[in-house]
Amino acid sequence: MEPKANLPLNIAVVGHTNVGKTSLIRTLTRRNSFGDVSSSPGTTRHVESQVLMVTGQKIVRLLDTPGFEDSIGLFDTIETLDDGREKLGIDRLALFLQSKEAASSFSQEAKVIRQLLECDVAFYVIDAREPVLGKYQDELRIISLAAKPIFPLLNFVASDNSRVDQWTKLLKALNLHTSMQFDSVAYDFFAEQQLYKKMQTMLAVGWQQPLELLINHRLEAWQDLLIAAANRVATLLIDTASYRQAITKDTSLASSAKQLQQTIRKKENTAALDLLALFKFQSDDYGANLLPVSENSWKLDLFDPKTLKLFGIKATSTAAKGAVIGLGIDMAVGGVSLGAAAALGALLGGLWQTGKQFGREAIAYVSGERYLCAEDNTLILIWRRSTSLTSALRHRGHAAQKPVMIAKPQSEANTEETTADQQVMLSLKIARNHPQWSKRQGLVEFAPTAKQRCIAALTTIIIAQWRETYNIQ
């Protein structure tokens, strides 16, 4: 056992064609543009490498290889090349690489074997839906000739017709006791962590420390990502809640409501696209009509009563959908704001701000100014929807090619506000009282610190709610 490993750890990702080798690398590297992925066999025809890094240091090199296609034929060829003398597996593979078959009919397989001979460990990717056929066993026999640690990875385990048991039985029979279930499309961060941890147990001690570094770094980045996403959602909610659409003398209520809806839709879509980008997904990677956030709009409209119902919110029948008219002094809002401000530790500021707000409202009342703002239902919907989107993105591998699926919220029957909703709505009531937060008056934003602090507080609430209620770790 070597004390210090030679970084990076070279991992040859091998397996039959079309089992998802390229997909696996896409997911592990969070790069959905890596290589080519298609449902046809023989898609990858070269060896391509992608490196996992921790602060500038290369830790793991993943090598994507072409798939084995004719392992029965290949095994026969290797057998016939044998001159009968007792030989090591690696020598037999070396002999094959010099043969003319390695340059012609088995040129793809030759590429795989070259990588096998050079790598530190081989990931053998398995399509767990496949029956355990002879050709796969032949593949494993060929791979084991290279005398490298083999780490079987069962892909497609989230499919309902996967045969994990049969495969594990075969692997055990071949003395491969450490294997791993990992679906590159239905992504699970903790399965990924598990994968690296299992590798630690399997490899020489020299690799433990670098892999530990990778595991911790990934965990940190994952948590940072959650915070950034929560921050984005909080910003969206606060922007929406503080937004006011003035009803002027020459606009009708209906057209103002339309404008309000349009503005809010735009805010939500921008946020959805931002979330996609945060998780390193691109909306245009998949063509316009695949994502629910296509053509810059969610497929389910924010102001459609059906959408409300889908997310477990009872629709109310206001004249202007999704909007409520704020008129003059809004006592209830002011009162709640005070309480909320106190809860957030800003009692003095809250008092002061509420007083000022009352002043402004009083002036508006006297001068007959009226405005529209988003109703509570709309805010709750935005909150639940962005939660669902975040949850979906966190369980989406970068190999996924289908549109982002928003899971149906669990609480469909439950149309009441949950405590999670209430907590979030409380901070939004503060935002409601700060119309200046969503606009810039002339040159400058007013009270940016108060807004920042409110966003920060809401971010913390959102993270806590996600962890608790929505099981987003």
Partner: protein
């Protein structure tokens, strides 16, 4: 106010953020980001802004601080004068040159003491200054309008300062500074007045006991006396009461003046100066430690770009064959199935068929077929060999090869089809589709596999006996 270096760095970052969030990406930012990959993320973010901004831009970012400094100097002067005027006002109330010492001291330091007390209260109260930054910002906005200055610079300032969380110290510096100016004015003017005019210091009371005043004055004198200043003793105080006639009024005047000036300095200026220094230190501490907030999406993404988790090394072992054949095929082959149903002497064989072998004819959708024999299901080397030898049997006229539509037709499969196709019997390939999914790509793959194996397209058929969906 001298502009804090670290804060300036944050302002530069914020300036770029505001610009980039509108979609502007500067030329050369990619290159600079690549060069900075070795640095720790926060440092790299700061350095990136430093390199991307031009000298003129950096200068214009300094402008708000210059305006701020000009305003500060003007305000300090103004408050100094105000302090002087206030002192004159206080002393002008003195009748017949006999000044009430305690009254004057209260007038000069009372409000200061109260405001100091409020400050102490507020500083212990978190976030109390948040709401007040709006007027600070308004002043800056007004200033920059006056000087028709770049608004994006001002916004960068705002954003930076609002993320630092050091506002309460910033406001403290301002208020202590102004009070200090005010008190300095007071002290100077008091000294001038006491130098140029003559006051007899007295004290008087109606309801309090005289002893109280004696002890107050002795208590006031404790600190100044440590400096060796000559101060009124208890007996001096006793004789200064209104109505008494002291023996040495000159000495008494000096002693009381000493007490007044030193009290102003020690109980007025000194605490303010200490508090000011403290606030300056606290503010500097805050601003020295400010970093871009990487929990926000923009900086998170920038951090990821600067310190990437993954890097592409590209193609290691390239494909030698440059072009791969592509074929065009018809969408489906329903005619093949009809033809299959009419065949007489058929040998059924499996190609990695997944299920019971031999299969029930209904399971493969061919109830009308009359097979003369079942060969094997080729799932490994030996069964393949067996199939090939049985297929060589001259009595067989048709071989129907049953395969899973969902399987990927790899080169091993193509080789087997080609070998079977070279036998005298006619080879048919029947693909059984279990999952009812969008499949045109797979159908295409199988047809091109057949073409590669020289099997005519008309001899390939597919049957959808779709049961359920593949959820994944």
């Amino acid at each position: 106010m001298s502009i804090n270096k670290q804060l300036m760095r944050l302002i530069q970052c914020e300036y770029l953020r505001l610009e980039e969030e509108t979609g502007v990406i500067r030329a050369g930012s990619k290159e600079i980001e690549r060069q900075l990959q070795q640095l720790p993320a926060e440092q790299a973010i700061v350095e990136r802004a430093n390199r991307l901004l031009s000298i003129t831009e950096k200068n214009s970012l300094q402008a708000p601080s210059r305006h701020y400094r000009q305003l500060s100097i003007a305000l300090l002067g103004f408050f100094g004068i105000l302090g002087g005027l206030a002192t004159v006002e206080v002393f002008s109330g003195v009748e017949q040159a006999s000044a009430n010492f305690f009254w004057i001291l209260l007038a000069l330091l009372g409000v200061n003491a109260i405001s100091m007390f409020i400050w102490l209260l507020l500083i212990g109260w978190p976030n109390s200054a948040d709401q007040n930054d709006s007027w600070l910002m308004s002043i800056q906005a007004w200033l920059s309008r006056k000087s028709s200055q770049d608004t994006s610079a001002l916004r960068a300032w705002q954003q930076a300062i609002s993320t630092t969380g050091g506002q309460q110290w910033h406001l403290s510096v301002i208020s202590h500074g102004l009070w200090l100016a005010f008190l300095s004015g007071t002290l100077v003017m008091a000294w001038l007045l006491l130098s140029m005019r003559q006051f007899d210091f007295v004290w008087e009371t109606t309801i309090l006991s005289g002893d109280a005043f004696v002890s107050i004055s002795q208590w006031l004198a404790t600190l100044p006396s440590l400096l060796g200043i000559q101060l009124p003793t208890a007996s001096h105080v006793m004789v200064s009461r209104v109505g008494e006639s002291p023996q040495d009024p000159d000495e008494l005047r000096i002693l009381w003046s000493n007490l007044l000036l030193s009290s102003l300095a020690i109980y007025g200026l000194l605490p303010r100066a200490v508090a000011l220094l403290f606030a300056i230190f606290a503010r500097r501490h805050h601003w020295n430690n400010v970093l871009p907030d990487v929990s926000t999406p923009y900086y998170y993404q920038l951090k990821m770009r600067l310190s990437p988790d993954t890097v592409a090394e590209g193609i290691v072992d390239d494909d030698a064959e440059t072009c791969h054949q592509t074929h065009n095929f018809s969408a489906s082959n329903t005619a093949t199935i009809a033809k299959l149903q009419q065949l007489d002497d058929v040998c059924l064989a499996g190609l990695e068929y997944d299920g019971e072998w031999p299969p029930a004819l209904s399971a493969i959708g061919l109830d009308d077929l009359a097979p003369i024999m079942f060969s094997v299901n080729a799932i490994d080397r030996s069964s393949r060999e067996q199939l090939l030898s049985e297929a060589g049997n001259n009595s067989i006229r048709n071989i129907v090869l049953i395969a899973r539509f969902e399987a990927a037709p790899d080169r091993g499969i193509i080789r087997l089809i080609r070998q079977l196709n070279s036998k005298p019997a006619t080879l048919w390939l029947l693909l059984i589709q279990h999952r009812s999914q969008q499949t045109s790509q797979q159908w295409h793959d199988w047809l091109s596999a057949a073409t590669d194996a020289q099997l005519p397209q008309q001899q390939v058929g597919r049957l959808n006996i779709g049961i359920g969906n593949d959820g994944a």
